[in-house]
Every structure is written in C-alpha cells, then in structure tokens.
Symmetry: D3
C-alpha cells in the first residue's frame, strides 16, 4: 500500500499508457494482441479547419487516463492484451485516396491477425477504409456519435472527404444502414444528408436528446445494432464546443461529456469489432479539454472491448 | 451533386456569409432588403471589461454557420432578402451618448425603409437607442435572454451604461414592461434591478430553469409577448462562461447552448420587428467558442425572421 | 441612486473585494472577525500537475463577485465581519509535512479566536491540517464536493499527498466518516478509495447525479451531516473540465456550475465551522473560467456562513 | 483637422483596408487596377502543420496597417489603384496539383490584364504556379526571405509540396537561379537543398546576418537581381518564432521584424513584377503577432510597388 | 543566511511588492513618502483596442520584480519611502475629460505633498493631465519612449484621445518641446505627427536605433533634457510585439527589452519629477510577457528615482 | 530522391526522434550507447512557478528537430549511438533530497557505463546531483548559460533549491569555479550570488553581451574551461521571455535564440562530459516557442557531443 507509482508526467507517452509495441511496416506481427491502439494522423479529408493529423499525438500526451473503469468494472489495459502499435504507415502525406488505401491495407492485416483495432484519427474520412477492411465478409452495424451524419455525396472532385464516409461505406456494402444509429446530429447541413434517411439509418438529433432521455436512447441503439458485428465511431465534435473546442467543424448545441460517457457505457456487451475516436485538432484546444475528452472516450472504447465477443477474454 | 463549393475559409468575411452591401452613410439606400444585418462596434457603456467593439468583426469571421436551419426549416439568407450592410456610421468613438444618437438615427432609417434590423453589438447599451427607433409609434414587447436584468439606474454620472437600457426604454415609453420577459438572470446585482419587478416585467432566474422546463418557459414567454410587435435581445452572457467566456461581465451558473437554442427556436412565428446579439468580447475568447455561439444565435435570429410578420416573405 | 461606484478593475485585489487585514505572523490578532478569508498557496501534495500555489492570487484578481446573494438573501461581506487576512505564514516552500504543521498552527489560532476560516488552496492536502485544527475537540462532519474521494493510502513515501487527506483525518479522529458525504466522484482511481466505503462515508458518483436529482441529493446530504459541526470542502475538479479546466487532475464527466451552485445553496442553515475551495491552478485556465467559478464558490461559502450557528450574526 | 475617422475595428475587413472588389470567377475583369491583393487559402503542400489556408483571413482581420509608409514615403493604397480582389477561385480543396493549376490560371489572367499580383498564402508551394504565370515569357529573378531554401526534390509521391517550389520553378524555366538570393536560411534540412548551390542561387544563412550587416546584404541582393523583372517572396517563418510563432515549420534562430523590415525597404526601386507573403497559420498564433507581422510585410510589399516600374505610377 | 523568505506567489499583490498604503480619497495623506506608485485604470482615450484599464492590476500581480537593481546599484523600495497608494479615485468610468480632471486633481495633491508620482496606466492620454499637475509652475522636459509620437490633433470630436497628449501638453505650456526626445517611433501614422517636428521635439525612429547605437542615443537624450525637471513616459508599445503583445496599438519593428532597459538605465541621475508606464492591455498578453516587461520598466523607473534630485534620498 | 519520409507528426514521440530504448530501472543496461538522452521530470526545487516536471514531455513532443546540423556539420543521432532512455526512475515525487539521490545514483550508472548523459529537466537543482556523479573523480569545468548564477545559499530550510546548485557543487568539490563561466546573468537577485565572484567564477551579465560581442565571449569561455572535462548547463530562462516565456522565473532583457545558438556552436570541440537543458515549463508556453527553443538547444548539445573527446566517435 505504500510503494511507488510512476508519475503521470514521466516517460515516453503512449495511448492510455499502454505498452508501446514496435511493428515492422513491411512484415507486421500483431500476434498476442487482443486489441491494437493505433494512430491515423491524416486530415486531408477535411472541409474546413485542418489539424487532426496531430490528434494521435495529442491523445498520447494526456496524463492520468485509467487504469480502472469503475462503471464498467474492468481494467482494459490489464484485462486484455492491448498495445499502442504506433501509426498507420503511409506512403505519403499528400493524397487522400492513397492514404485511404494505406489505412485499409493496414487494418486488413490487423483484422487478419484476429486483433480488434481502436483507431485514433485523423479526420472522419478514415472510417471508410477501416470499414472496408472490417466489413469485407459481412456488413457491420454502427453506433455513430457525431454532430454530422457524414453521408453527403461527392463535391470538389471527390467523394472521399470527411463528410461522406458512411454513404461510401453503405454503397460499398460494408456498412448496414438498417443496423446504424447516428446520435447528436445538428448544424446547418441537414440537406446534405438525405442518404441517411433514404438508406434506413436512424438519426437522433442533438435537440431531441433531452426529451428522449439517455436510457431510452441506449435501449434503442442496442435494439438497432443487435448482437451482430458492430463498429463504434465517435467524432469528438458530437460534444458541444464548450467541452471540445479543439476540432475542425464545431457545432454549437451538442452533447455534454456526461451524456457521452453514459451513452458509451450503455453499449457494454455489444459485439464490437472495432472503434474509433476522430477529429481531435489540438491547435484549437487552448485548455487541452478536447484531448482529455478524447482520451477518456478512448478509454471507454477500450473498456467496452473487455465485454465484446470479438475482442475479449472476459467473455471466454 | 458533385460540383464545387466555396470553402468556409475563403473570401472576405461577412455575417452569416450573407452578401456584403455597401451603404452610403449620408444617403443610405436599403431598398430591396427584408432584413439588414448590421454591426454596432461600440462598448463605451461597459461597467467592467471592454472589448465588445470587436464583436461584429468576431462574428463575421466565424466559418460554417448556415445555410439551412433544419429545426425551423428555413434558409434565412435565401428565403429573405438579407445583407450584411456594414456597421453603424459613428461620428466618433469617444462619447457614449453621441454614439447612442448615431445608432438611433441609423436604425430609424432602416426601419423607415421597412427593413428589419438584426444588430450585432457592441455592449448592451445599444439596445436602448435601437428601441427608441423601433418603438417610436408603439412600445414593443421583448424576449430578453441575459444574465442581467439591465434595469438599473444611473451611476458614475450617466444612465446610458450597459446596466440600464431597459429601464431607459420603459421610461422613454418605447418598451412595454408588461410584455417583457427576462430569462437567465443571475449574479450578485439583484438589488439594482428592482425596476424590473416594479414595472411589471417577468423575471426568470437561471436557477429556476431546470425545474421550470423549457417547454413551460417558452409557452410563458409567448403568452407574455403575444402577437404584438416584439423585440428579441440576446446577451451572450446569458450563456454559462463555459460556453461563452468571451464577454465582459461573465456570470457563473448560466444557460447551456442547447437550452438557448431551444428557447430561441421556441419563438418561431412571433411578430419580431428587430433583434440583437450583444456583448461578445473576443479578447477573452481563447477558443472562439463565444463567437461561434454568437454567430449561431445570429443565425437563429435570422431564421426566426422567416416566420415573422414584420420581416418575412413566408408569411405572405 | 446616481452616485459613484468603485469599478471592479480598480485597486489592490482581495478575496471577494473584502477589506484587507494585515495580521502579524508572530502575534496574530483576529479580534472582531466573524469569518477569515485566507490563502494557502501550497501545492507540494499534488500527484500530477502543480500550480495551485497560485490559486489564492487567481481568486483575488477575479472581478465582480458579490455583494448580494439573491438566492440565499444575504450580503456576506456586509452581514458578517469578514476580511482577507492574507496567506498562511509558512516557514518554507519545500517540505510538505512542515507546511501542514504551519497550516494547522495558523488555523488553530484562528479557531481559538472564535473565527470561522474559509480557506483558498492550494492543493487538497491542506484540508487535513485544517481539520486537525477544527476537529480537535469533536470530529466534524463533511460535505465534500470533488471528483475524487481523496481517501487513498500512502505511496511514494508519504501519506500527506492530496489523494489522502480524508483518510488521514478519519484516522486522526478529527473527521466523522458517518457524517461525511462525497459528491461528484469519478475518474479511474476508484480502487484506491476503498477506505471511503469501509469507514462509512456516503459516496455519490458523478454518473448518479442526473438520476438522483439535486433536491434528493441535498436532502440526503443534510440528513447525513445533521446539525453537528460540519466542514464543507469544495474541490474545483468536481466541476467538469469544460467549466473548470484550470486544475491539476481534471476528470471528464463532472458537474456543471449550475448543479454545483444549487448543491451549495442547498446547504443553507447547516452548522458550518469552516470551508475551503481548493485546486484552482491558473496556469491551465486560458479563459479564467476556473478562477471565476472558484471565486463564485468562495462567495457561496461566505454566504452560507451568514446562516451558520458557528459563524454568524444572523442566527443571533 | 478635427473630423471623423473610421475606427480600425469597424466594417467588413479587407487586406490593408483596401477597397473590396468583387471579381467574377468566370469572366474576371481587373481593369483599372495597378496592383491586385489576392488571397490563396491553400495549404495542401505542407510537410508538417497545416493551417495557412486561414492565412488570408488572418491578414484581412488585422487592424491599423497603413496608410502611410514614412520610410519609403508613399501611401500605397492611395498612390496606386489597388484592391482586395478576394481569393483564387479553386475547383476544389482536396488536390494539390489541381489547386496549382487554378492558381496559375488565375494569376495568368491578372498578369494579362497588366496588373501586378501581391498574394497572401497559403503555403509556400503556391509560389511555383504564380511564377509559372509571371515568368512565362522571361524567367524572373527573386528576393527570397525564408528559413528554408525550398529547393528540395520530390518525396511522398509529389514534387509539388511546399519544400520544393523554387527547384520546380527553375526546372520549368520561369525562375533564374543566378538572379536569386535566399536570405534567412537555417534549420536542419540543409542536405535537402543542394539544388540551391548547384543551380547558382546565393544563399545567406540566418547565422551570417549579424556579421554581414544589413546594408551589405541589401547591396548584394540588389546586385544579384539587378533591374530585370523580379519577384519577392516572403515566408513568415524567416522571422524567429518569437516574432512569428504562427506558422507550420518554425525554426529557432531567425530574423527580427526590424531586420526584415529593413531588408524589404532596402528593395525600393527594384523592378518587382509580383510578390507574396506566405505561411501564416493563425492556429498557432496566440497573440496574433504573426498576422500583425504578416500584414506589415504585406504593407511593405504594397509600398515597394509604388516604386516598381512594373506596377507603378510614381515611376511615370 | 538560512532564514525564510516570503514566496513571490503569496499575499495580496501590490506594485513591486511595495507596502500597500490606504489613502482616503477625500482627505488624502501622502506624508512620509518619497515616491508614490499609483494605478490609473482608465482607457477611454484609445483609438483601437481597449483593455489597459486592467494594466495596473496586471502589473500588481507579476511576481519576482526586485528588490535589487545591480546595474544601477540600488534597492528602490528600500532606499526610498515608496508605497503602492492604490488607484486614482475617479468620479466615473464613462467620460474621458472627467477622468482627466480627476487624474490632474489627484496628482496635484501628490505633488503638493512633495511626493514623486510613478503612474501605471491606463492609456497614454493620462500623461496629459499628469503633466498639467507636474508642469504647472515650469514646463517639464521629457524622455518619451514609444512607438508613436502622440502629438496628433483632435478628431472624432475630442483632442483628449491617446494619440495627442503631448501636443496638448505643449499647447498648455506644461511640456517643453525643446527639451523633449521621442524614441522608438514607427508605424504608419507619421503624417499625423507633424507637430513633433514643428514644435521642436527630437524624434528618433525605431529604424534608426541600430545605426545610432544606444550610447549615442543616451548621450543625446541626456543632452536634450539637461538637468531641468524631466518626466519619463514609457509606452509599452515602444517594445516590439514579440516582447509586448499585450497592448492596444502594436507596431511591428520595435525595441527589444534589452535595448529598452539600457535606455532607461542610461537616464541615471536625471532630475526626474515623475514617470509612467502605460498601455499594458493584459487581454492580449497570452504569456504575461507584456506585464512582466511593464513591471520591469516600473522597477527601473523606481530605481531611477533613487538618483533623482526630485525624489531621492541618495542625493542627500 | 523521391521516396517516403515519416512525417514529423507521426508515431510515439521521443527526444530528437531518437530511438526509444527501454532501460530496466533495477538492472540498467546502457551498453552500446555513446550518449544517453534522459528526462528528469522533477521541479520540487523551484522558488516560484512549478511546472518543469513536464519539461521532458514538452521536448519529446516537438516536431522537426534534426537530423542535420549544417553549422557544426554533423548528424548527431546518426553519428553517435544515441537513444532516448526515458526518465530517471524516482522513488517518489514528494521529497527534493530523495529525488536528488535518485538522480545521482542513476547518472552514476550511466557514467560508469562510459555513456555521456544529456539531461532534460526539470528544474535547475538537478544539475547538482548530476555533477556529483560526473565530477566524483575530478571536478568539472562549466559553461553555464542562464539568467541566474544559481549560487545562493540555503533558505526556507534547504540548500537544495534551484537557486543554489553551483554553490553546492563547488562546496562538494565536484565543480571547479575557476573553470566556470556564467553567461546571461540578470534579474534582481544579484546580492544572493556573491559566492560566484568569491569562488572565482567568471560572470557575464546580459547587459554586457552586446558590447562584448559573441566571438569575444566564446573565446573567453573556451579559454576558461580549457580542454579539461567540462559540463554545459543551459537554463532556458537565459533567453529573453519573448523567446522563452514558458519557464518558472522569467527575466526580462535576455538572450535571443540567435545569440544562444551562436554561443553553443562556439563550443565545438570542447571536452564535454555531460550537458543539460532545464526549466522548460510548458504551462506558460502558449505558443510552444519555449519547447521549440529547448529542443533546438538539445539538438545543439547532442551535436557538440560529436566533437567531444568524452562522447564521441568522430574524434576516434
């Protein structure tokens, strides 16, 4: 009871203070892992403010997240074999589509190794190639917490921007819109997201949340995704800018962190085959609140894996 | 569906990306407009921190507000003839009363042209001269969202400071206190605002809001102002400093942006003859959250005009 | 009604703009005071980010707190004889235990003079020596609002760090765990706080607050502490980092200021024999929101003293 | 002598408070202008921190630059027909090469109209397409003030990144390396810039400047470029980060603003056919110092045009 | 050698940690003082960004300035009877001219008591009324370190703005232009300051300083003011914004702090009858560098008084 | 020439992007290294603002320092076997003397392995235990660049604070004062540093540097330390706060980075047996300029080791 602890400000920083694991980009070895924490420092898909390429670095340098999740009752970095495996090895930093190919290829290898990826973006366009890797054999369901539906079509010459990953994923057959719920939606681009409704996704706007109540929302979400393979994607801009100013497309009127944590914890036991936290842009984060919130979300995602069939040992 | 959009970071900034309209200060022509968005960069009335003279500039430079309001179902800058007409032409920047005269004269001309003004302050003292212009023929009612009643008397040699515009407006016969509701009130100056109760205004304190519930509050507000001509004045310090730190007289314990947006949207269909958003002081706004919230409020005000008899075409 | 007021930005700053009272460190004279506002600029007990040694200075320089509390209906600096008596005179700034001795000795003298101390930290370890002074003759009860239970045991060679003051206080017989309630608890260190439950404290987690409701929580707290001598300790990290980023061990998912104010005001009439506000670290407070919130809490604590048997005149 | 001035915080902001001129992207009309101030909000070429797409907006919102340059004795916005013509109309925001084509095409039209362009970046890669437009008939000379030579070769699959514009320009035959001087060079990438020496450019490192002395440097620069058509490119990272922190690739040990202004003013009378100020990234500019410095540089560039054969009237 | 020191972060802050002296506004008693440090929190005279009303508070809260000046070899707060006497008691915060009257009246009383005032602004307009008090019987000479000459005429309806105090002082016969030197001048308003040259002031531009050399400048300044009564006015914007961003009208290309300190120390032995440090606006001072520099200047001013006939004991 | 580079924002951060080497705290193995880069996150010795415990983390997260030093012509991380070996393993974070023992023991082991340590503080008190390890057999000489002499005696009950390491080192016989030069000295504590002169150190004040000239200073420094074993200690507060605001005891009037780099590079070929960069406190570093400067200094220190007999291979 009176020993020594490593202070939170010491050492080389990693996600959730998980062990750093060096992975060879050419012949990667992921053996022995249940869950891989990986950075995807790519923000070429943004429509407005860039900067989330620094998101992985920002989350690594947050102190004091973990080890114990008393609400979910688990110690994710201890209960599961989990490591910070570094960042996706990119061929270059200048071409959006090429980066997407690199992401897909890397996550492919992680998934082939039977390891569940939790990714730290980067902008939200990264979820499209991740889903292409994870939903290849069977489309996944999705819990999507965000200010934006991200189901808009091509413009400015590309469909791969961060406003459209879920339209792309559905059209590629890797995301099941019927098993998709989008929570926290707001802003002034609703007219761009008709695809959400048309394809059968369930959309919960931010302004509906207080009346709906979190228990009801959680039940509805669990009902929609069921026990099939499910992906959880958390865009930090789902939070109100008061809680998360450090992001590229902030939208006033969002979730509180207490609501977000309750939502995430309500997903205990879902069959999660991957997850991400995206769009933390530390340039706009004068207090580091956004990175703090992002790291806490990462911790909750890691915790949920303790109870997921796909990832976990606890279920064994 | 695959064209080109102007990025939010491009071009010379205007309020809500509305068209810039150059107006001659001497012989102004407002013809063809339904609504004028105007800046009033004047903060000589503050009791504490100055800085809101930079409020108009701060709101102009916010990106990505609009075009579509999915809650109110309108595209204000498209549905109405609306322009950023620049700032009130002042004779000088050193005399509070002189500035008030200039504001009154300018709004007079706007109103005479049958145009509805939405003003961006500047400190809250500006609402007094605006009301003198708009309530000349008949006192207006008011939805007032603020941390402070702003009904205190003269001190330090003037009654025109930002703590007293609504006392002045009532005493000048341009504001009807019986048709006035003040929402979000708090702080430690209650003893200065006896005039609110004495004159018949309805005062809703911040600490009453959770229990009262927003639907009840909205109903009460609509009942109080009725269908007569009504002004809507939004002081950014009604929001909690967590949501809006960039203001001169912050008060802990305020509204969330979600509450504020719900309140504003609840005013759909009121007969609004003018509105303002005041007290954004960007010097204290390290994250630009305050300006974001202010621009969003401006967007909601513009949206409400789509449904106001006074401004709008939709009612036609 | 038209006189002159001292502007909030003028003069040498003191807590709540209370009168500055110079006290001789060797032969202190506290006569004539009901309540002493004192700074304890000491942060040697932190586990992570230091900086709260600047907490007292930060709270002194906040403008515009007070004079009137309209919810509790009192003017604390007027209703009670209250002064800013400066900071605890320390023998040095390098030894945690020595500082604790100095705090205890100083508060001893304040208490001996029949004066109620309201302390501004500094880190939370300071509450242990304060309690040793105040609970000497009879253990005190406690309203404790915090993100952390602060009942963990020794590590890194000391038990006097800021994670353990209340374990220490119970073991020293100066704090009655049965009359203790801890509100706002969260984070990932729950496994370190078994002492709270084992000793009989009541622990209310942050995630329980929405469902519990504030009126219920207040009633429960009042019931637990009863009418015996009670201490109120407010750690600014009980607030969500959105409201109070400027602290050393922030925890996402906390209280809003509106909740915190309601909780505090719900304690009107308790027999408070001392109180503190701790852990404001202005280095992390880009907007000064944290210091604003801290100063407001200080004002509420001062207001509560107007209704406490121990401090007050109103009860006379 | 006692009239009214427009305050620097009023109105819709433009570069140097020059008149805003709306130009049709399809059929642009630049007639009547001597000099066009244009924004190029594009940062797809950066190697590290993005953000300079917000550079034009940042420079537009700086107050109080101009009107009179007492060192050069001119009033650029008055002496020349000069306007803020808005930003380059891009087809999209996602493809570096496409953006370069759009820049080249737009500057082509400006140059064809006999107007001298002063561009505000954006990252430094923009100077390559600008030079392609301006050096088409005859290669230009260059005064280049920067921390980096920007003459490195392709990597990450492209040669169009911001580390290589001047290699590209030389290889395209639009920049004359013998008439090029690079001033302020430093950092740890010298091994990437062999092309500078190999092609015959003159390179002055930051660490040589104190000993060289500014008058000597100026004389040398004037000698190198002679009286042929010359371009002036100013990268804000030439300044030390103490003077200009808001940039993507800061290098410790740079120029002071006083040195930079002296250098620029020393170029009076050169035959400048265009100029730019690039790499202002306001996300990293907590004090707005970088934007201030950038706007001042823009003012000096505009002033120099008063004395350039290519642009000016004064020479007439 | 091993005693205890009061830490710089402890206690109620005052200028230079000098003793706080409470002065009755109605019947002030300044007896026993050699030098009075006073705040003048007034910024109604600014042309652009307000905020220097918080200058006195900002300088009081800087830690660790003093006690010993090893260059000038003095301990000003010990060698002279010096106190922080608080701020000028104003009748109100809304009228520029009224504030000027209050300043003049207060400094009159200080001067009548034979005490030398060192004032902390506030904007630079305050020096005019100070000079009216100090130069009543004989016009003073002046060492003026600033980015601006501050000799422009009336506009916007007043001559009392912060751009004109020294024109006003000369015209009022309280400042001797022949005994005035202005150092550090730059910016783009030179055309407004013809009065400086016309009246016989010596103007040294920022761009001349490197070549002139500090020893030469100091000699010239000493020669100009001679041994008559002299005032020293230091505008923080004389420093480059890299050193002092926190001010209302920053001008790129200014002095370094090392230059400024050398200049000030070069004035040892002048017959200084008063001094000020003005225009610190902490809202724009993200690093507190400006307030640090301002407090250091204040310390140098206080040190110079040790060697001034007017103030000092050392000369006795 | 057209391959792929790892972007500066990718991966787990280490000092100078050097390889991370995990070292067992109990049985450390440093074999194969020439130089060890180590963090010492300890700030218990500060007299004022704490925070430099986050210094190592701050320097690790700076991007783009290295690989090539064109002035010294070396690639330190390639030319020497160099690794980031993590931080000193401390027994605890609460006791200054205990931490010093742990530092001494750890550096002892590094030195015994024949490895040269370059340490990243932490506060300056760490240099005392480092010197005890490195000067055990023979006292070292020192190049000391700092605002403060750090030779003051005990106070507040300890001599181990950050104001006295070099007095302690001399008295312990591990530092040779005759072979010590202190450069950049200023501030108002000169009276505390008599030991410097008394013991025979050479002290160069900041205000002497311009006149002395850097070449002269460098020659003098080289002459003083000679070719004996020498330590180089760089306190970031030697830089002016404009260049390095992020530190605990800033002193106006300091070095520029260009001067500091020139000084450091002037030490090429000295027999350096260790070095450190201390006092970076990122809490006060709004622009990260201080960490940038600190990382650049670290790079220069690493570069100097390429030419030091003690460390290097080049000399082989």
């Amino acid at each position: 009871a009176s020993g020594t602890r490593v202070p939170p400000f010491a050492g080389q920083p990693t996600f959730l203070s998980a062990p750093a694991r060096t992975v060879d980009p050419v012949n990667p070895d992921f053996s022995g892992l249940d869950v891989a924490l990986l950075g995807i420092p790519m923000d070429l898909g943004v429509t407005n403010r860039p900067g989330s390429r620094f998101g992985p670095r920002a989350l690594r340098t947050i102190e004091r997240i973990g080890p114990y999740n008393h609400v979910l009752d688990c110690v994710p970095v201890g209960d599961l074999a989990m490591a910070d495996i570094g960042d996706v090895p990119f061929r270059g930093r200048y071409r959006l589509e090429e980066c997407h190919e690199d992401i897909e290829a890397w996550v492919d290898k992680i998934a082939e190794a039977g390891v569940v990826p939790i990714s730290v973006g980067g902008d939200h366009s990264i979820t499209h190639p991740i889903m292409k890797a994870l939903g290849r054999t069977r489309p996944v369901g999705m819990i999507h917490i965000d200010a934006h539906c991200d189901t808009s079509g091509p413009f400015d010459g590309t469909k791969f921007h961060h406003g459209g990953p879920f339209r792309n994923a559905v059209l590629d057959g890797v995301l099941d819109p019927q098993r998709t719920i989008q929570i926290g939606i707001r802003g002034s681009s609703e007219y761009l997201w008709e695809f959400s409704a048309d394809s059968g996704m369930t959309v919960i706007h931010a302004e509906e949340i207080t009346d709906a109540g979190l228990p009801g929302l959680i039940a509805r979400a669990r009902d929609i995704v069921g026990d099939g393979p499910t992906y959880l994607s958390f865009d930090i801009d789902s939070l109100d800018p008061a809680f998360a100013p450090g992001t590229g497309t902030p939208e006033v009127g969002g979730l509180t962190t207490r609501e977000a944590l309750a939502l995430l914890r309500g997903m205990k036991g879902l069959n999660l085959i991957g997850a991400d936290i995206v769009e933390v842009a530390p340039q706009y984060d004068a207090t580091t609140n956004t990175a703090q919130a992002g790291a806490q979300v990462l911790f909750e995602l890691a915790s949920l894996m303790c109870f997921s069939q796909a990832a976990g040992r606890k279920s064994a």
